[in-house]
Subunit: 580 residues, 2 copies
Amino acid sequence: MAASAKAVHAALAAWRRALGTENVLTDGDVLGRAATATFPTTQKVIAILRPARREEVQQCLRIAQRHGTPVYPVSGGRNWGYGSRVPPEGGCAILDLARLDGIRDFDERLGHVTVEPGVTFGKLFAFLQARTARLFLSVPGSGPEASVIGNAVERGDATGPQGDRFAHVCGLEVVLPTGELVHTGFARFDGARAARVARWGVGPSLDGLFSQSNLGVVTAMTVWLTPRPGHFELAFLAITDGEKLPALVDALQQLRMEGTIRGTFALWNDYKALSLCGGYPWEAAGGVTPLPEALLERTRAETGFGRWNGTIGLYAASRAQGLADRARVEEVLLSRVDVLAWDDRAPGVAWEDLDARGPGLGVPHERSVAGMYWRKRQGATATEPATATLTSFTASAELSRREPRATETETETATARGTLTPTLSRTRERETEGAIDPERDGCGYLWCTPAVPFVGGEVDSVLALCEEAIGGAGFEPQIAVVFASERLALVCAAIVWDRAAEGDDARAMACHDALLARLIGGGYLPFRLGVQSMAALPAGSDDTAELLRRIKALLDPRGILAPGRYAPSPVIESPRDHGE
Amino acid sequence: MAASAKAVHAALAAWRRALGTENVLTDGDVLGRAATATFPTTQKVIAILRPARREEVQQCLRIAQRHGTPVYPVSGGRNWGYGSRVPPEGGCAILDLARLDGIRDFDERLGHVTVEPGVTFGKLFAFLQARTARLFLSVPGSGPEASVIGNAVERGDATGPQGDRFAHVCGLEVVLPTGELVHTGFARFDGARAARVARWGVGPSLDGLFSQSNLGVVTAMTVWLTPRPGHFELAFLAITDGEKLPALVDALQQLRMEGTIRGTFALWNDYKALSLCGGYPWEAAGGVTPLPEALLERTRAETGFGRWNGTIGLYAASRAQGLADRARVEEVLLSRVDVLAWDDRAPGVAWEDLDARGPGLGVPHERSVAGMYWRKRQGATATEPATATLTSFTASAELSRREPRATETETETATARGTLTPTLSRTRERETEGAIDPERDGCGYLWCTPAVPFVGGEVDSVLALCEEAIGGAGFEPQIAVVFASERLALVCAAIVWDRAAEGDDARAMACHDALLARLIGGGYLPFRLGVQSMAALPAGSDDTAELLRRIKALLDPRGILAPGRYAPSPVIESPRDHGE
């Protein structure tokens, strides 16, 4: 529910006084870009507020509360496929937290760092690299410019030991919708020595309230880091026949459950794997979509990918531990896969080797983001190193099932052979033109992400449903299954299209909504929601929804913080303008 | 704030109608025992309510809300050293949840079980044993009759892979103080397939609100289980000189951080270790307390314990993994310890071997509880097997630092040689006389439990402070340091006395309060509070305490649920009797 024009006018004036005119953006082009996602949206944005300090965030919220003018906090804005920076409801000012980019505290021995919302994965990587720290932070697929706090509070995933990000953070500093300030865990007590090492504190634990919610703005957070392993083993595995998937998933669950695999890892289908190497093979396909089955098979053969593919990192302290883990993986997996190849480069994990082995060791990359350009005729956008890392692993004809061996860093790929559309390196371009920008470039991208028990048969049937629904709508289903814990598989199914292609926007949205409804109907609830789908959750038969409504009304009496975000029925005080 | 006599009378009548007269206990002896802790308390209990089903819990709370008569939920009541079953404020009815003892659901493959509050560690162990399940549940020191849910919601610790219990549960079913029903995570959606395998669900995560709180009664919870390892290595380590402690702690932190040690483990000081073997050596000490230094040293030599001692379990899938982990532990620890001995019995971990290797593999035991009888002249109370397990490890003269080898199950112990007071086996007695009962037996026991960063120097100085304060008051400090995560040490310092010894009650309380205040003043906040100390926390300089007060007032308008529990300033509606 938008505020009155008079209230907006008064709020803008107050925000300008608080932040300076230069930090309250109302230029039409700027607002238009902020209101653009990777799928159609109609919400308008009234301003972009750019506070630089926590106190300014508090002021912004007090002003919003006073005038009833809603704000929508954005850290890095890389909420790609879920709505980017676009608020679920129109009439919001975007509270852009990028200028709060301090790294407040760092402890190498205990492995923790305290960051503000503007700290990106790229910035934190550079920070650790500059110190040649013996630590890394597991990275998500959203690239080097994604916010660490954004990833955590949205409960995003990442590759490696701390893949369940929100389980590895503590000490949140939170500004409530009223402008009040709270801290979670021991951080609420001045000088508490365990504030950055303990999750729970003493008394009720509040962290969860501020994840996937609209109950507060997180302005700082302690993030736990992982020691770089003394010995790192990285496996690439593939199956050529989808029939083998259930047994493979069950075997992987056994390895995860028993602790041989200790971090988050993923399987990708062929479409997802191909999208990491290059763009849609327009030429080979004669300009036709969707991708013909024969061409898919040909490209798969060229790249060395299977029907399902994955990488698994094994993190050990000693060489003996690493080799014992590797032997155990082989014992369990060899009979289940067609390819099991080990990357034997640089087991010592020096900083200079990281680029080539990066994603599992905390090197931010854009290879997943590049996949959003799949259907763009101008070619995919990606940095070369990430692509080379992946394809080096998969394109080698020498990969052997029974005799895992080293693979080469530089090998010919399908893109070089010309089937996939060549990947453009934008590294140089970006210096003059700005970062990768799927919204500007008209990439169509939508996630549908059900949570599924880590059981072969069940994962398989959900994947079949997703592939069928997305393929049936004329798109190539790009799917990753993220094994987020010993018991949980997060199916991340993307619908990818070119927003310039006539009719595809509408077809993609309809496909997404029908698939989401079907998954929810089957008991496969999404673990994360796009801004367009906040009302898609069923009511539930207990009093939880009502409790959430009451808590929202308690913390945010006028409903000014991110209305509609993970809260389909916000409680808003009866509309009136308090004046200033 | 107690309700009026009229309100209590009306509430009792309503509770009787709801539960049947036989399930509303008001007998003076019964109430007196329920109001007895292991330290002096003055709170009176007005009744014990014994609902058998969740719907009856809801009725009990609605009645309480209607009449303003507070209730205090108790699952197993083994909150020993923190107040047992005694409410922080007088005038409560105890809501005894022991009759809700259903095991609702069990999945061996995914390793989860859904239990009600009356399910104890002993019951769950028997359940798994009866199925020869390939799973176990890490156990705390509070014995086989402690409640699994009680341990989790109080955020207690345990030994082994899931030592941070509350991080390994999901899908809480919670009755709110108003009688409403909520579920956490995906469990709020009927038929959600991931309800028992995913922690967060979608939207704000509420679990934390219902731990260490008075915001709801948890009537069911899914608990994650650990696979029994294919290969299990168990080490006993000791240092004879306290000066070596900081370096040892730092080495242990390295092993935990790098992932060689993957579960919760502990170090115990000599007093704690001795208390696990037998009672105070009254005869050798000539009836004098505290324990003379020379006698401590003699007993330590006889038992084989060092100044600081510990066991570490290594959980592996294959023998090669287990041996590689063991070699890594030796590489890091050998130069830091005086004893490092490996238990080489039964690496296969068959059910029939568990008793002998139990605590790290989920076998509930009473050896810590037996330590509460330390100062009782009638002798300690314990079951033999647990004691034998420990002492077999420590009393052997053949323990070797450089050549770890198997130790014998049955060896002579200091108790057998006569220095410590012999341990009485109550296994047979209990069949006729009831369970171990420190409250009935006048055991004095109080915990003081600061959270400390897992850093040698810092742990060492907190331990010194605790030993000095407790020793200075004339008691033997029984201290365990529980390494709860890669970064966090929980110092569990117990004051142990005989409540029949004149003046000791007062001296122990004063010692506890002074130590707690001193620790808090130094930034070492407790991670758990006894019912007598709920007001000991500082206010904090932000709005967190106020937020907690508001949430309490929202969920519990009349303040009838566990008033004062982790909430020193409960908000209670202005006193009035609504009548019935």
